[in-house]
Symmetry: C2
Subunit: 169 residues, 2 copies
Amino acid sequence: MDDVMADATGQIINFYERDYGVRLTRQDLQNLHQREDALAAHREKIRKYPFEKGFFRTLLPLQDSQQVMEALNLKYEVFIVSAAVEFPLSLHEKLEWLEEHFAFLHWKQFVFCGNKAVVHGDIMIDDLGRNLDSFTGQKILFTAPHNHHVRQNGYTRVDSWLQVASHLL
Amino acid sequence: MDDVMADATGQIINFYERDYGVRLTRQDLQNLHQREDALAAHREKIRKYPFEKGFFRTLLPLQDSQQVMEALNLKYEVFIVSAAVEFPLSLHEKLEWLEEHFAFLHWKQFVFCGNKAVVHGDIMIDDLGRNLDSFTGQKILFTAPHNHHVRQNGYTRVDSWLQVASHLL
């Protein structure tokens, strides 16, 4: 979900501006793990944003995610697998968010887990190499600020939902 | 979780007594789907109990479940897979319940899903034939009032956690 269906990075930018009056760019967040500057001093606070009430409930869907997912859902057996258990408040928020923004999906298609190694399937779209690495099917890496540096060993990289559509539809 | 780790049947008996002043037996619940009597008239209400706030949070662990699970967790890679998404309130309640009663487990071991067909593994312990049927590994049916009538086609049936221990430890 996060940074694949939902714009978690955009929410972090908004929360940071609320707290520090500075609007970061996506490039700033891409560099976050390397920087030794003012932004790095706030790194811990940024990492706590997902534990804040409302963080997940008010995310915006990523561009074209709804339309492409609706088409995928007609062609494939789709499951939404989210590593949600780390953020206890997120469970209910994510469920409500899916019901609002992806109303064509059924709750039977949702999986909230701590470790995606337990799921199996034919194709996985994810923003994290560690989730793709434990998956035995086709691995699609969805570009996000935190994975620009990830080598594409065995992954197909996509930068947008239109690229997902061109691969899978 | 329900009727394997947590005594959901016991909770239904308690809620029914609270509402109707009658203490059902487990045999009554076993017969529920066949009966055309006063109990059957309350069937819909009984089915709604799991949607009630607090239902899952206040369940009691089934006898010996904690001790045997703790030992299993040392020998196996254990995941707790619960069809929780049907009951939105249950997500957070089940997470808190596991943290209270099975504190030796880590949240990375929890999976809350709508359909267990998406999980894979070597051994599944479940109270529902439909969950076991979509599983490719060893299938263990944990006896509960609603599965007494289920034929053991390909399942190993266990009646208690001590029987789980004798099979797996």
